[in-house]
Symmetry: C2
């Protein structure tokens, strides 16, 4: 019965990308501040979020804007991290291969994946050439099938690269030297928007979080496009299932939450709460609301702020062309 339509959009769409670099530093504020400041020093690149975790000993920045400024911001942050982080001294529960561990470029809105693959290649070459670091292309930018997925690429972590990179041909980087220094190596790639999502379980037993993670992750026949691991947290009374949801259109957050609740229930363990690490694209949360209240249809355009963003970016682009 209802007829609703989006109107008044400008015909132009602004090319926007996101970059979510991960750095192997989650405790020293002055190091984290310096890396963030390096990224924020580029006009046109918006550092939208910073998330640090002392147990993971890791920091994640979220940068967004037009491709050129975002690529420059990612490079400057990587250069800063290479100077300030020593992998020989780094300990944390999250696997990592370098000071700047991963640099993913992500298409936003109507931007193509191909553009993000090209950005990854360009920035990867530059990191290798100017910072003399080994660079592995991953995700949609991977040039070898075994490098598409980070868990495989990171197997053995920095320590394996240190001992085997010079002698093991399968470890040869896509760009840069066949050796690592104290800044390690960097994986540069392109991917869909990712939702970093944790669910806390009411148990101190890490083996249960690990068993639940095994029960849901894609690699052994669980949910599609879900990477999951069990972790301790700073609170010794609880453990976490920590996930990357690689395609929430295929596997929505609600399905993941329900599956974890079932799996944990098999061990008599309750789910305590959910936690989002960084930000999620509007659609991922709208999908949760749609499922919860049984909306017949509901998309990100139902959010006023999303619609206004499209209109505002379109108007800015029109003005710049005028």
């Amino acid at each position: 019965m209802m007829v609703s339509g989006s109107v008044g959009k400008t015909s132009s769409s602004t090319t926007l990308v996101e970059c979510v670099p991960n750095f192997s530093e989650g405790t020293r504020p002055e190091v984290m501040d310096a890396i963030q400041a390096a990224a924020a020093s580029v006009r046109g690149a918006a550092v939208l979020d910073r998330h640090a975790d002392a147990v993971h000993n890791r920091m994640v920045l979220t940068i967004a804007g037009p491709p050129g400024p975002v690529a420059e911001a990612a490079f400057r942050a990587t250069a800063c991290a290479a100077k300030l982080i020593d992998l020989e001294a780094h300990r944390g529960v999250h696997p990592r291969i370098g000071a700047t561990d991963v640099v993913p470029f992500v298409p936003l809105g109507a931007t193509s994946m191909q553009l993000c693959v090209e950005l990854a290649v360009r920035v990867g070459r530059r990191i290798a050439a100017e910072l003399d670091l080994p660079v592995y292309l991953y995700g949609e930018a991977a040039r070898r099938p075994e490098r598409r997925r980070l868990p495989e690429l990171r197997r053995g972590e920095y320590e394996r690269l240190r001992s085997h990179l010079a002698v093991e041909p399968s470890l040869a980087p896509d760009f840069g030297p066949q050796r690592v220094g104290s800044a390690g190596a960097t994986a540069v790639g392109a991917r869909l928007p990712l939702v970093a999502y944790n669910v806390t379980l009411a148990t101190a037993d890490l083996s249960i979080a690990r068993a639940v993670a095994r029960g849901i992750r894609e690699s052994i026949g669980g949910l599609p496009a879900v990477q999951a691991r069990g972790f301790r947290t700073a609170d010794p009374q609880v453990v976490q299932v920590s996930m990357n949801l690689l395609d929430t259109a295929r596997t929505p957050m609600t399905l993941v939450f329900e599956r974890i609740r079932q799996e944990a229930g098999r061990y008599g363990v309750q789910v305590l709460e959910s936690e989002l690490v960084g930000m999620a694209p509007a659609q991922a949360l709208v999908d949760v609301a749609r499922e919860a209240l049984r909306f017949g249809r509901l998309d990100a355009d139902a959010i006023l702020e999303t619609r206004l963003l499209q209109h505002t970016l379109g108007s800015v682009a029109d003005d710049e062309r005028a």
Copy 2:
């Protein structure tokens, strides 16, 4: 254990308002197009959405932008509707007092309610002066307590104004003439963001939708900040509970949905689906996701598009000052 922070925002915040005028025309495309075009003719005012309903015989536009352009767009649309809509010929199931029935101004982001009250007074005076229409100030802009709420203001609708406006002092408008013509009267006001939310029930019995609506609406002791009515739909097999949620921070959508499910269950009736009319502010849908997946905390800033909008509007404002 997690430490996350929003960063890189500009210190400035852009003043933005929304205006959601309702027009008494939901069937003739040429009339709806003309009204929409009048609103869209103002540079800087973004017509983000148009929602029309043939059974209500009503159209809702969502306009957003800086206060000046949005006020001008609302005035032009009102002027156009006054020319093209004849209340003597208008039939629809939704109560209405005029061709342009209501013109609410809504603060977005950091904009104050006071600014929206001032806009309502300014636009209301202009509609009265230039279009010679009776104007009632409502919501936060109301000058009489009995005019704060639309259901009271609209009691008896256009037909009551036609028969009693000239003789009944309590009906005297805040601005404009003490008589109505074929364009009726207009309520101009200010309010919080409103979520227009419908829930469809699996029954043809209108009395059940009405009973459920009575069970939840605030005016008789139900949920705070909820206006609800039962309606038929274009599908004779189902009925709807049609609501305005006036403050989803006080009464979240999830609570409303659950209460409707309970009330309908008392009549042995199932809830079929939810429907959003127009758009919702990000926070209202984020609240649903938070409840569904038990997020410890989750706010609209968790949405990437919301964060980028703030940053983009801030940058535009900075550029304009530079």
